[in-house]
């Protein structure tokens, strides 16, 4: 019988570092930080096994505020730093904190490759649709026409949609939440943490200084039940204050329908987060408020697939099965050699 040391019971406060949090008062980042501190003690992991890696931007200050291991790296590169860390130490739980500029603009390449490798990382993308730290330029998720300091006549590049990108790269876990919906947010953080492989979570986050109200439609108590739709696995896509609207597939296109008047729940699209095909999740990621759709929140996709961090280490083990641990003297002396007396 083995004697196991019980894990210490940790509280949210145990995850707070001694550093003052320096985000602007009212920033959505505070909410995400608070939920993270609440979720981590529930995961059954000791603090030293948790690492936060970030890039550059407001969100990327996150690691300084966590009493775990962490690195505030350089702009856009957090997924790559995390890849080296996690490959070397697969026993660690590694979080990547990034933003819409950090993750999708300067670091877009790393994000895509990290996802397709299915590195076991939890990537949280704080999407505030603006460059906050550099004081208000448009970001890759800013809508067309967005007027900012760098786009006084309006943005003329099409925005990227983080979840469409993640699903396009066949992410094995894709979810969305909202900074003000703290119960949902903590549930999504927990789901992301529990997923093996790359978990990609987009959080609608309000920058109250440079882009206040960017997600107003999704957070306003009066409208949010009409403009968002909470996904539940195996359940039909229903939304609305009176839960009287749903999403139905018309051919390959989703459409908003009203329940009743001859339309039953069974006619609606049913959510299947475990579908091996990413097409449904992709379709959901394209439902946008400006096109008259409620925007889904929740888990879009959650499937199992081999993880890079495990496979890279499995190859070491496999090579050892074939060749043993190796002897460098033998390696150096293999092949053609000659002796000089």
């Amino acid at each position: 019988m083995s004697i196991e040391t019980p894990l210490p019971v940790l509280k949210p406060a145990d995850f707070a570092s001694d550093q003052d949090v320096r985000w602007c008062p009212g920033c959505g980042d505070y909410s995400i930080l608070a939920q993270m501190k609440k979720v981590l003690p529930t995961l059954g992991l000791p603090r030293e096994k948790i690492v936060f890696i970030s890039g550059i931007g407001c969100s990327s200050r996150f690691p300084y505020y966590m009493n775990t291991y962490g690195m505030h790296s350089i702009h856009g590169r957090a997924p790559a730093v995390a890849t080296g860390l996690k490959s070397t130490r697969p026993d660690l739980q590694v979080w990547v904190v990034t933003g819409d500029g950090d993750g999708l603009s300067i670091g877009g390449n790393h994000l895509m490759h990290c996802i397709r490798r299915n590195m076991d990382l939890n990537i949280i993308l704080f999407n505030n649709r603006i460059y906050g730290l550099t004081k208000g330029q448009y970001s890759p998720t800013s809508p067309l026409g967005k007027k900012t300091k760098s786009t006084p006549m309006g943005a003329i590049d099409n925005p990227l949609h983080p979840l469409s990108i993640a699903i396009g790269a066949e992410a094995t876990f894709v979810a969305r939440s909202i900074d003000t919906n703290i119960k949902h947010l903590s549930e999504m953080l927990k789901r992301a943490a529990e997923h093996r492989g790359t978990a990609f979570l987009e959080v609608y986050q309000n920058c109250n200084v440079f882009n206040d109200g960017a997600w107003e439609y999704a957070t306003n108590r009066q409208t949010k039940l009409e403009t968002t739709l909470e996904l539940q696995h195996g359940k039909p896509l229903i939304f609305g204050k009176d839960r009287d609207k749903g999403i139905r597939l018309n051919g390959l296109d989703p459409e908003v329908v009203e329940l009743g008047k001859g339309i039953k729940e069974d006619d609606l699209l049913f959510h299947d987060e475990k579908s091996p095909e990413p097409s449904l999740a992709y379709l959901l990621s394209r439902m946008r408020y400006e096109d008259g759709f409620p925007e889904p929140i929740g888990v879009f996709r959650s499937v199992k697939a081999p993880q890079y961090d495990e496979m890279i280490n499995a190859q070491v083990e496999e090579a050892r099965k074939q060749h043993g641990k190796g002897n460098l003297d033998d390696l150096f002396n293999a092949g053609e050699t000659w002796d000089v007396k």
Binding site: R47, E48, Y69, M71, L85, A319, L328
Partner: protein
């Protein structure tokens, strides 16, 4: 008609230089490496210089597609692949046109005359056939119908004509093996190993090889064989080794000597990719190789692996190093140990990918934003890469800072005999990590990641260790606590500390050697891959009675402590470099010494003659 082989003479020579050249699809690199192995096994000292085009298959028969491999072998110790060629094998007119100028007068010229048809001559820019117009009269020309003879030799094996023609390089090898009195056995073993699963190919290559050898024996026109005795090298077991292989093995050794996992983050780039290939073959030594999506991910994953406690390495060439610049700043400010390898090639931009140059010294020295000093060491030759890799890791892990290791295309692809060390003879690399602490203990102290030991190294606390949780990052750190600090005095202090860490290495390296007297008329100062040609040129000058000495630098940042006194001991200083004067400018800057340069960037190493000429001009 007599069937007996004609009488042949054997002439003993001290050394010889042979070059195989042909189309890049003609297998000249293989011919060269086989001849090298055979000469090394015969006990000669050898030095090689492969020279190939950047295109994998440039248009056949063109000058752009010519690939060459030069081998210098000797009964004495040698340091370079040779200035001029004693025997040149040219498989087509383009190869002849681009290489014949390097053949010494009265040198042996072996030509595949079947390739000298109208089209081949035109592609090489010949108006008349040089084999017939007398323009090659100053050489011992042997015009051989190689294509025809090879086709005859492999007849009956069921090979297509194209497949038969692919054996031509073995015919050329056989002929050169005969010419230099070499055994066919190593190459026969190679054929068996390489083509054993394709018996018809193995048989065809064997037949072509022997046909070449017998051709030499039989043909009356070639009446002299040359023999080079074994060299007197220090006792031991030797093998031939290429620079990139030696470097990869040096990394493996360093990982084992420091009891570390080895992590290589790399993106394919010429001429560094072979380091990635070699390490990928040795995963069972606890090696993780990560082929990243780009150079930036290669270096930042390396930083992640260093944070995780591995021996972390990234390897690239100039353009890749340029992309890594910002991340190297992160490595410097986080004070994490790692090796950054630059196998230099011709620049700027894509430049000359397959050609050698030493023009990234400034990049290594200055190529980052902010005050961002990095320790720089350089390997002097293929075998030295093995030791340079270990030295880089010793310094990096001891001082907790990234270290640049510079090699170049010439070292990376060149080869030389290497006296194989025993692992037990190599010094261990001691690394310690701070121990876990219990945060419920009353003596628990918040861990400060930027406290320092006598070497100014901070503790390498590895994620996963209880009680040492800390955060690193690219923002300036307060010394001690490692918290973000914008304090003006602290920034000055940390900038000074990062510089002092590099400077401290000067107290921790071997005394700088001088080859020759410590004072004199001229000091030749060199670094990196020019070691061989500088050594040879200086020895010649010394033999001629000149007061010339040679100082070859392994450590460029910091310089060895003795360097200033050494420089001051000479009336003149000459710095030959395959760049436009990068070390020279650093030396002038540091020591106010009016050093002269010998500089070229032509994608080729220095010949000994070039350096000798400059020495003769100066003293």
């Amino acid at each position: 008609m007599s069937t007996a082989a004609p009488e042949k003479q054997i002439s003993n020579v001290e050394e010889a230089t042979v070059r195989f050249c042909g189309d890049s699809g003609d297998g000249m690199q293989l011919a060269g490496t086989q001849f090298t192995t055979t000469s090394a096994l015969a006990g000669n000292d050898v030095a090689t210089f492969p020279d190939f085009p950047a295109e994998i298959r440039a248009p056949r028969g063109t000058k752009a597609g010519v690939s060459g491999f030069q081998i210098h072998f000797s009964s004495n110790e040698i340091y370079t692949p040779g200035d001029t060629v004693d025997a040149l094998v040219a498989m087509n007119p383009a190869a002849l046109a681009t290489n014949v100028a390097d053949l010494r007068d009265n040198g042996i010229l072996l030509v595949n005359n079947d390739a000298f048809d109208k089209k081949g001559l035109e592609q090489a820019g010949y108006d008349t056939n040089p084999l017939e117009d007398g323009s090659l009269d100053k050489y011992k020309l042997h015009s051989v119908e190689m294509t025809k003879l090879v086709r005859l030799a492999v007849e009956g094996l069921g090979l297509s004509q194209k497949e038969a023609d692919r054996c031509r390089n073995f015919f050329a090898m056989g002929l050169v093996f005969w010419l230099y009195d070499r055994s066919l056995d190593p190459t026969l073993r190679f054929i068996e190993n390489k083509f054993g699963k394709k018996p018809e190919v193995a048989q065809a290559n064997t037949k072509a090889l022997k046909a070449g050898f017998h051709y030499g024996e039989t043909v009356e026109a070639i009446n002299t064989q040359y023999h080079v005795d074994p060299a007197e090298l220090p006792a031991g077991t030797y093998r031939n080794i290429m620079g990139n292989t030696a470097l990869a093995w040096g990394l493996l050794a360093a990982a084992q000597l420091s009891e570390k996992r080895l992590f290589l983050g790399a993106y394919p780039i010429t001429p560094a990719s072979d380091i990635l290939h070699e390490l990928s073959k040795h995963k069972h030594y606890d090696v993780l190789t990560f082929q990243a999506e780009d150079e930036i991910a290669a270096v930042t994953s390396t930083i992640g692996a260093a944070f995780a406690g591995a021996m972390a390495v990234t390897a690239s060439s100039g353009p890749g190093i340029a992309l890594k610049g910002e991340a190297l700043g992160l490595a410097v400010i986080t004070e994490l140990p790692m090796i950054v390898i630059n196998v230099q090639r011709g620049g700027p931009s894509t430049g000359l990918p397959t050609k050698t140059e030493q023009s990234d010294l400034w990049q290594a020295m200055y190529g980052r934003n902010g005050e961002c000093p990095m320790c720089i060491i350089s390997a002097s030759g293929p075998a030295d890469c093995f030791y340079a890799a270990q030295e880089a890791w010793r310094i990096s892990s001891k001082y907790m800072m990234p270290v640049f290791l510079l090699t170049d295309g010439y070292i990376a692809n060149g080869s030389e005999p290497w006296r194989i060390p025993k692992m037990s003879e190599l010094p261990k690399i001691k690394i310690s990590h701070p121990e876990a602490q219990d945060d419920s203990d009353e003596n628990f102290k918040q861990f400060d990641p930027y406290t320092r030991d006598d070497n100014l190294a901070r503790p390498w606390a590895v994620p996963g260790t209880p009680g040492l949780e800390h955060r690193l990052g690219g923002l300036e750190k307060a010394d001690g606590t490692g918290n973000v600090s914008y304090d003006p005095e602290n920034h000055q202090h940390m900038t000074d500390v990062r510089q002092r860490k590099v400077d401290l290495v000067a107290d921790d390296i071997p005394e700088q050697e001088v080859n020759g007297e410590k004072t004199g008329d001229l000091l030749v100062l060199s670094w990196g891959g020019t070691y061989g040609s500088c050594t040879t040129a200086v020895r010649k000058a010394q033999a001629a009675g000149k007061k010339v000495s040679h100082c070859h630098l392994r450590y460029i940042n910091p310089f060895p402590k003795e360097l200033e006194a050494i420089l001051n001991g000479f009336k003149q200083v000459l710095i030959p470099e395959l760049n436009m004067g990068q070390l020279r400018s650093i030396i002038r800057d540091r020591f106010l010494v009016d050093a002269q340069g010998l500089n070229k960037v032509q994608g080729k190493p220095f010949s000994v003659a070039e350096i000798s000429a400059k020495i003769d001009e100066m003293v």
